[in-house]
Symmetry: D2
Subunit: 396 residues, 4 copies
Amino acid sequence: MSDQNPLFIPGPTNIPDRLRAAMNVQTRDHRAPDFVETFAPVLADTKKVFATTEGTVITFPASGTGGWEAAVCNTLSPGDKVLVARYGMFSHRWIDLCQRHGLDVQIIECDWGSGAPADKFEAALSADKTREIKAVLVTHNETATGVKSDIAAVRAAMNAASHPAMLFVDCVSSLASMEFQMDAWGVDIAVSGSQKGFMLATGMAILGVSPKALEAMKTAKLHRTFFDFRDMLATNASGGFPYTPPLQLIYGMRESLKMLFEEGLENVYARHFRLAEGVRRAVDAWGLSLVAQSPDLYSDTVSAVYVPEGFDSNALTEQAFNAYGVSFGIGLGEMNGKAFRIGHLGSLTDVMVLSGLATIEMAMADLDYPIELGSGVAAAQEYLRKHRAALIKTAA
Amino acid sequence: MSDQNPLFIPGPTNIPDRLRAAMNVQTRDHRAPDFVETFAPVLADTKKVFATTEGTVITFPASGTGGWEAAVCNTLSPGDKVLVARYGMFSHRWIDLCQRHGLDVQIIECDWGSGAPADKFEAALSADKTREIKAVLVTHNETATGVKSDIAAVRAAMNAASHPAMLFVDCVSSLASMEFQMDAWGVDIAVSGSQKGFMLATGMAILGVSPKALEAMKTAKLHRTFFDFRDMLATNASGGFPYTPPLQLIYGMRESLKMLFEEGLENVYARHFRLAEGVRRAVDAWGLSLVAQSPDLYSDTVSAVYVPEGFDSNALTEQAFNAYGVSFGIGLGEMNGKAFRIGHLGSLTDVMVLSGLATIEMAMADLDYPIELGSGVAAAQEYLRKHRAALIKTAA
Amino acid sequence: MSDQNPLFIPGPTNIPDRLRAAMNVQTRDHRAPDFVETFAPVLADTKKVFATTEGTVITFPASGTGGWEAAVCNTLSPGDKVLVARYGMFSHRWIDLCQRHGLDVQIIECDWGSGAPADKFEAALSADKTREIKAVLVTHNETATGVKSDIAAVRAAMNAASHPAMLFVDCVSSLASMEFQMDAWGVDIAVSGSQKGFMLATGMAILGVSPKALEAMKTAKLHRTFFDFRDMLATNASGGFPYTPPLQLIYGMRESLKMLFEEGLENVYARHFRLAEGVRRAVDAWGLSLVAQSPDLYSDTVSAVYVPEGFDSNALTEQAFNAYGVSFGIGLGEMNGKAFRIGHLGSLTDVMVLSGLATIEMAMADLDYPIELGSGVAAAQEYLRKHRAALIKTAA
Amino acid sequence: MSDQNPLFIPGPTNIPDRLRAAMNVQTRDHRAPDFVETFAPVLADTKKVFATTEGTVITFPASGTGGWEAAVCNTLSPGDKVLVARYGMFSHRWIDLCQRHGLDVQIIECDWGSGAPADKFEAALSADKTREIKAVLVTHNETATGVKSDIAAVRAAMNAASHPAMLFVDCVSSLASMEFQMDAWGVDIAVSGSQKGFMLATGMAILGVSPKALEAMKTAKLHRTFFDFRDMLATNASGGFPYTPPLQLIYGMRESLKMLFEEGLENVYARHFRLAEGVRRAVDAWGLSLVAQSPDLYSDTVSAVYVPEGFDSNALTEQAFNAYGVSFGIGLGEMNGKAFRIGHLGSLTDVMVLSGLATIEMAMADLDYPIELGSGVAAAQEYLRKHRAALIKTAA
């Protein structure tokens, strides 16, 4: 309603001015040298964000869902088995996608609020004597529950089972905000998008692909053209694109990478932890609980917060929007009505976080929640000011 | 190189300031009323551009290639037969896509420079006694050759053969620039994109879908999730999207439609004809020939021009770019080296067209083409000023 | 430092996106009809904001200081006497300007924190038997102290003294934010600027001029050319400008007026009161005092707040800026070191105000101020939510 | 009308995207370090454009007219004598300004189309035995007639007369487009603006001031406050401003300087000469004449062109605007109706120049001018392509 207020949905994020300016370019000829000289370094630099030297970065003009589809279609064949744990709306949707593409999905059902069950993965993989499981699919940051899973542990489980399956990770809402180690964690395909940690508009799926996944590509039989890695690899090599590229987003990506590297990825991660911790202190001060079941699972990009018994979280987010013009994330799937979500990712500052906390406090008070106005803000202020960090400079 | 010069590639087009401003919006909550109230009218208004009242408009955050894939995957099953004529790079690519998705493609090979062969379609359909052909695929405006095909004639041919196949039309580079009559021509799926007649950034595939195609959707077995019409229809109905929508493009689309309706679609088409005719007069004055074989095939959005024997069209477009900072379309596929292309679509003015003609004349002179400087410009000036039209107002 | 954080200086204000877009226009021909058709209505509509039907609006490409100079130079002659009260930095500067232009300035010295002394004005005017005082100069909103003066009372005092002097009012930081009644208050020249209530970039002085002031113009002998009303009146009449106009600001002004009228001037004033009252509740909760001496003097666009004895207000604003990237106003003149200022004008929301309060609380805590974190925020939240108003829509 | 077409008024110029983006910044605190660190280098770098090491750069939020006023008011006293030649509208207006500020203006009347008469200046100065003339005022580039004067010759004349008068030069429409040598030419005050060679929006007067002029400042008695050098010098020294600065323009100026230095000032001048020469070839091909009386007087930023006997230049510029949406400069003052002007300054390309020539040719043909369509374009094409230069890169 008002472009003046920040929003607190867990992506797309508030876009800093530098990136709005970077995306606001006139059409340029994508077959001309200027584009070529822009695009190739963007792909190369994005590898640093995935923390991969072996992998290849591939982008599509699509959303994260398109990235999931690309991962699956380029490496698997109809009837292939994949192993997935369901612990939130986004893991659920990836399962659904696999099923609709004719894959045999072995599902491990988990509580929403829990993370990727490394032990159960190990058991399932060990039981898979005939090595029918071709890939393990994991949601790194389950945006619906505010849960961050331990990908290194999943990799360790796969190794413990000596299983050759590929590891596909959805890092849509974690990449460029929380630590991600594609090579170190042995990730074969990592799927992300432009509108979260990269702070851009929606419209670009961004994948990191390992040599092993590229090998699987050669025999994969699922149909694909728009999402075909092969066309991308063939044209990207010379700075081209198999069809019209999302030029404005690529120029935006160039500036986004510049901003991330200026701040330093480690500092970006530390900032997200710090701001998230401020939010968590507020939640605690309100006497409310996170959906994430334990501190090791706390996401630094989104906090899903249970409302007290007898309250409807949808009424709360509506009140925040209608009365104060501020958007928070609603509870998704089985969390609908039970939890609301505070997105705290992207180009965010202490000041913005505090404004979100102050707003939701007012909305809670309006709806007679048993919370004290200012209490969450005070707890966050106390934490944030005692753990001050160098300010990021988001303006050019 | 310089954002000051217009470009003459056949899309993406020069983006008018109004649309750059419209797309340059801060992130808004796509689950909030503001987006819903924006998106629904955009879909409804886009129907007017397709000239359909019966059809449904569906958009994806993708390029035109994604639109082709969506058309096919949502209505057909593996092994289904489709009938296509190949007469340029874009009809070729759609054929390739169909083959990669496991369809049985019956191809009618035509000369590049010719259009959709209604007579051959009729013969093929009449010969298809068992009605195995499920769809006829036609490229309305073949961007590689500057050829506009007669879709009404194709429809007449299908009717003459009393064949029940669906008619799918690629109108990526024609919609919103040249007349398109989805209902009148009996088109079942029309595929377009944001970056041509809509004058926006690349990133949105835009489809018009007939009730018959929606019926076919119910039994189609090709895999799809990202491009699934069903998810779109289910969420669009209430102003939503099955995943994160390309918000900035949708706001851009709202303003684009406003501009198109302010000018009037008939006037938009007339303007494109007039500017294209100016270009054609210049080509004639240079003593050069169009790739399009006859006037009824001339495209009003792009002219492909043969260079004289012994000249290399790639050297010409490189000279225009390197010496004058202006992009023209290169010759694609079998036209590579033989023809260059002048895009003349979108928010274009007489003044811009003349600057393009003046530029390519200089580049031709630089490369010792047998043309007289100023001759094409003069021919275009003469035509344009004698067929003056009301100026469009592109500024808000 | 970060364009993400709002700022809380008492102007220039945070510029809403709509106005940034409106000012971001390409150069247009200021002698062409499009500009003429834009400029004339802007002048006419601005009269509504001054609440004048008799007056004329004149703008200059300058700051508010230029507006003061224009007021004086166009109506007075060297040696003319003017009556002014000094009660802050901006009244002081206007006095200084008058003196430098050779006027005889009769100064009434007042405490900083007080407002225009109507009674003393009346006494001085009554004592001026020979009617040498040509104009009374009043600062409506003293930005240095957060004091709003009662212009109607000044007019009443002038009337009580039956004195024919003109009344000049500096409403730079009040117009379009707080009620202003040019005709009803008998104001002869009202001076404002683009960067406060109009929410635009700095660069346009905006004056309302009464018929009486225009009459005085005819005999005024102070030198002026750039600021000459006569050139403006002569060219503005036909939509022109005597020199190159600040085109981008004029397009911005058109949109600013649209926003103000969409919200409704009464609602704009009510919103500023409400937000200011929220700030005042916070100040009270901190146990601090405003510089403004009594509630009737409280400004709704800026609050100047005394820091406790022994603290340096400059250290506080520096801490807010260096640690949190948020700008507040420093103490000016004799308030330097003693008070800081919270600007709360323009396109501001509850959420933004709360973020400012939360930030300054952290800075105060960092410097060991005896305040409780969250206390000011809570007091403001309580007030703001209990006096909720319809949200303004700042996005187009 | 259409923001797509370039304009050919002699300033404000077409603004390149980089500068529009640079000016489109959110409000920042002008008392904070970020602004200080931006503003000081801008002032220092602008000295390079004036080619002065001894001088000081001072800017005001005003137009060029304000710059003229600042020059005069800061260095002269009422009744002081200045020597000026009148040979166009802008020299005329500066004379008028001086007279309105109570100066004694000794005017040398010259034909419009001629330049500054060094010989007559020498005679007048030699005749001024009592050294009453305090300043010689010269318009470097008379925008009304397209005449560039020889400032070095004026300085030589002053030296030949051994006269101590200051030399003030209006370089509004020449600085940053044509060579200017403040130190070498002994210029005491050079007056320019943001909207010409700096390619920015209107709103900043930019002055170069010599030590001698600063000395004169100390005793100057003309009234000034807004335009007072002293306040500027006192605050600029520490990166400040005496009142609210035109922040957006200063950020724009930073980027403008960057662009100018990237291209290289010598290359900027060469480009303007080359483009101007292209225009002059076209004028010659049309059989028309420039107002400028001889080649040494030809301006490289604007060409004033006589229309043939019996034609009305206003009808021509109106036709270009109404029929084709392109603005050219009208004839000013005694040139009104007799000549039109083609502005060719700022961020201009060959392509843009040719589009302007093609447009005015059409308008001339529409009005039955005895010119051949394409003839001017062809002459310009021939010159431009034979004198090709490296392309400037205006995009970031």
